[in-house]
Symmetry: C2
Subunit: 332 residues, 2 copies
Amino acid sequence: MDRENQLVARTARAIPSRAGGLLRLGIGDDAAILRPKRGIDWVLTCDAFLEGIHFLANLHPADSVGYKALARATSDLAAMGATPRLFLLTLAIPSSRTGAWLDGFLRGMARAAREFGLRLAGGDTTRCARTLASITVMGEIRAGKAIQRTGARAGDFIYVSGKLGRAQLGLELVRLGKGRDRRLAEFLRPHLYPQIQIELGEWLARRGIPSAMMDISDGLSTDLARLCLASQVGARIDAGRLPCVRIPEQIARRLPRRAHDPLRLALHGGDDYVLLFTVPPKKVKLLRRAPGFRHFARIGVITRDRHIVLVHQPGRAEILRPLGWDPFRQSS
Amino acid sequence: MDRENQLVARTARAIPSRAGGLLRLGIGDDAAILRPKRGIDWVLTCDAFLEGIHFLANLHPADSVGYKALARATSDLAAMGATPRLFLLTLAIPSSRTGAWLDGFLRGMARAAREFGLRLAGGDTTRCARTLASITVMGEIRAGKAIQRTGARAGDFIYVSGKLGRAQLGLELVRLGKGRDRRLAEFLRPHLYPQIQIELGEWLARRGIPSAMMDISDGLSTDLARLCLASQVGARIDAGRLPCVRIPEQIARRLPRRAHDPLRLALHGGDDYVLLFTVPPKKVKLLRRAPGFRHFARIGVITRDRHIVLVHQPGRAEILRPLGWDPFRQSS
């Protein structure tokens, strides 16, 4: 269990949090599920977006910070198949950023809200030496249709809905100070303005196709480990099937060594916000009509034992450790 | 309009936030109101609690930080008359605080959750150089019964539900490093573990007695200005009727000059979380059965012109400026 997971478990033990009544699903999945009336579930989740942790104030454009803060939170709704409705924004900023920077931030967030179909319902604004945004987002879904992390069973196939490692590649370029270089827009976009797979999540949930689903925000190795832990299963991943990025030579030249390896980016890179889901073999045929199906990759299979094994080629395999983004791995 | 209010208005203009449909009341009041089904409104609000802004890590006990972070958010529900149900917690802490400090924090928050009848529905945990908590809290109320800030009319009487300035006095003691001094518990408690007036809020809203209501979190002068602005009215406050604290001589001796004046503490001190509400004359009689009525003070009357006037004695009056807590007044 990674350290973030341990903290969540400790919090849930300390504070009254048992599901029941109005609260259909409590702490531990992508989002909580409430049932305000028969036939409808509300899906509710919150997410922090912090300067120095999730973005770098000097390197990330203000409108990307606003866009991404909302995208990140909304992706947890997509991961359950819910339709986004409303959000609340807690925003703390230094006085020095209440001018043009804030305009850019709000512009990016407004664009994300329109794209995702979200309305701002309320918020809290305060001052802080470092910028931070915390967002609570609420979505709606037909009662009982939300896809949780807990349903994966041995034999289910494992899919991802798009390329892995693109956002990490963009981050490496931002770290080089290229975050505003228009010639690199194609490589920066997945990191600065990630696509959120709302439509796909809704489509999959409506048909009840996935046995388990979540979004990849912290990297495949870390998020797949969470899905497997929640479902009490393991997985075998075929390295050759991972939908890796292609890195053009003229880009690779500029990058630090750690970013040269597309497989490593695909396994451990964060922020892609593609959907990771498992499908029982008998439902695989239904998948073909999914929006964006041609971008899907079937990357492996769920297994009974609890390990996650990465198979490079027949006879060459290794245990896949969760080496994606874990905020508590570095000390502070 | 204070700077925090200006920021809220700017945010509401930039991001889609118009009320309508599910969203009955949008940004700008104590909380948003949603109507999930006929007969029931849900009240939703979020609140930040930040190290260095709302608490001082070296001076405030960890369990007070946890208690107060939740109390502060929940007070906005009480201010509308709603019954607290669920909350979500975004928590960012330095790695160095994941041990005993976090245990204390969770213990305080758990106690608050039990007292307020709240269950933790979900959250997000991450690392940050400084501790921050952002809380979204959800409450329930009979449809249309929530009391907003907008309904005060000229001639309505103005009430506060308890003493003013007690929390500020506690803060001054904490700043002197006395936050853990058990002999001062009585003076520290209002600041460290504020009472939230949930029962009173429910009682008042159920009977539709107040024409407008909010909680005093940033000081009477600042919060009354907000209520008046929202209702497009003014007020006349009788200084002699303000329920000020009495400061014993042995405490006063230790305090800095600014904290010696009970009137000043009552006007501008923050964090008291008493309710501030206006009542039409014909409903005043109904008030007498309110829980805690003997602690109420009728401090003035709503007026037609837009100023807030503080009357010291017949013939001696001044315009009351909002000099309570405004996070953007100091620079950072």
